[in-house]
């Protein structure tokens, strides 16, 4: 007799969110900067918004495995990121651009991106091609052999993005990636973001609401270390059309969500 199989049984049970946080707590020094955050992020580009001191950078550091969570649960790409086991293999699949991008001034663009590929344990044979692709994607091919100390702030930011994407990460974390970019470069960067988000999870922490609306598939709003709201950019704009303060509907939506949250708490 043939056994009937229900749709529920056929549903994949092994799917893991690229980012899955439950009651996450992360300290910045002695201050609990991320305080009981619940968050699930799938593939796509997620814009992380929030006021200064909301815990965005600390959250990005926890997602990049630089900071150890002090409480709660954090799973990244299906691996438990709260303990040290599996950290090495997880880090091979991560790309990270910190808010304060440190670099070695005497390195050339190519040398720096190569060094980062080496730190991420990329196979030796794959490094030259990966470096070339990363440098091309950020539009620095003509400056690939220039020393970093000769580059402008915007160009350095693009080097930072190149080093973060050199290993084709499954989880890409960009903290304030558009700082220092001119308007034309920002438009190009948004296109690159959309490309990157097609097959991986990209988290972009920024103050610029217009960047989020233009390039992100999802908006995550945090305040005081907690999730305030998560939804589509269109929903943010729609909220802004009803009220709030700011120059654009998206900005008004952002301030409206924040003030609602603060009035409730």
């Amino acid at each position: 007799m043939v056994r009937m199989v229900s749709a529920t049984e056929l549903r994949p049970t092994t799917y893991a969110w690229p980012v899955e946080a439950a009651a996450l707590e992360v300290k910045a020094g002695r201050h609990l900067a991320v305080n009981g955050l619940d968050l699930s992020l799938g593939d796509g580009v997620h814009g992380l918004l929030g006021p200064n001191g909301a815990g965005k950078t600390t959250l990005m550091r926890a997602l990049s495995t630089v900071h150890r969570p002090s409480g709660g649960r954090l799973r990244l790409l299906g691996e438990d990121a709260t303990n040290g086991r599996g950290l090495r293999s997880l880090r091979r699949r991560l790309g990270y651009l910190p808010q304060h991008f440190g670099f070695y001034p005497r390195f050339t663009v190519r040398e720096y991106v190569e060094y980062m590929a080496w730190l991420r344990e990329m196979p030796k044979a794959a490094v030259p091609g990966a470096v070339q692709r990363a440098v091309e994607r950020v539009g620095l091919t003509s400056r690939a052999d220039s020393r970093l100390k000769t580059l402008s702030g915007g160009m350095l930011r693009r080097v930072g993005i190149a080093q973060a994407i050199v290993n084709d990460p499954d989880l890409l974390l960009l903290d304030e990636p558009t700082v220092g970019l001119d308007p034309e470069q920002r438009v190009e960067f948004r296109t690159l973001l959309r490309e990157l988000g097609a097959g991986s999870c990209v988290v972009v922490s920024t103050h610029l609401v217009e960047d989020v609306v233009a390039a992100c598939t999802d908006v995550v709003l945090v305040d005081e270390g907690r999730l305030v709201w998560q939804g589509l950019p269109a929903e943010l704009i729609s909220r802004g059309e009803q009220g709030g303060t700011g120059d654009s509907p998206a900005e008004r939506g952002y301030t409206s969500f924040l003030s609602s949250h603060r009035s409730l708490s």
């Binding site: 990049s64 495995t65 630089v66 991008f101 070695y104 344990e121």
Partner: protein
Amino acid sequence: MTEHIPTPSLTSYTANARDLDDATVWAVEVHLENCAECRAKLAELAAPPLLTLLDDVQVMIDRGVRTGPEPVRRRTWRRLAHRWAVWSVIPWVTLVFSAVLAAFLLDREFPQRPSLVLLLAPVAPLAGLAIAWSRRSDPAWEITVGTPRAGLEMLFRRTVVVLATVLAPLAVAGWRLDMNPTLWLLPSLAFTAATLLLGGLIGVTRAAALLSAGWLLAVALPAILTSDLPVVVRPASLPVWALAALVGAALAVLRAGDHRRVN
């Protein structure tokens, strides 16, 4: 037997004639890629404007090669150096060399007083370790610490460089002062291992500062003030130092995972 492209087909190909369908053009190009004879024939058949164009392109390439930017020299040594150390250790290296030289000269001048080389040896590598693994001295620290090579591997590489840098002048000083090498080597290794072990819990910089201050206040300073060589740097204490270095190194390797995170 290899069949070559018929001359009429080649003529049509060079003339970009429309009587060749896509499949034939593809077959001709595949054959040309592998057949020098047909390529030579194609060159003969090519119309004069095409030959002129090819010559012009060749001239442009040659000119570009002559006048273009110089090929960038691959700085292999610099890439290798960064895999093992950070540049900010250079001022520290100068300081250590100066301190060991000063201690050596004072030991030679005042042989009856406690050896400053022996008193300096345990803490000589500690500042280097702190610098090699400090967020302030490595501009790319935040990116580095979130990569798979952070932890045991980078720690091992940077510790080896620091030890090699410190032990070289100590070895020369010890040799010139006719000292037993284990007298300065074992305390250095034991303190290095202890710093790494403690550093996994409180940070390498804090651990180095704590252990250096403890040694200088509890051992070095009283020895200088009393002119009496403490028992901990006498040959009788060597087995204890050897055991401490061995156990400390083993524990530091076992606890290397502590260095993979900031807190």
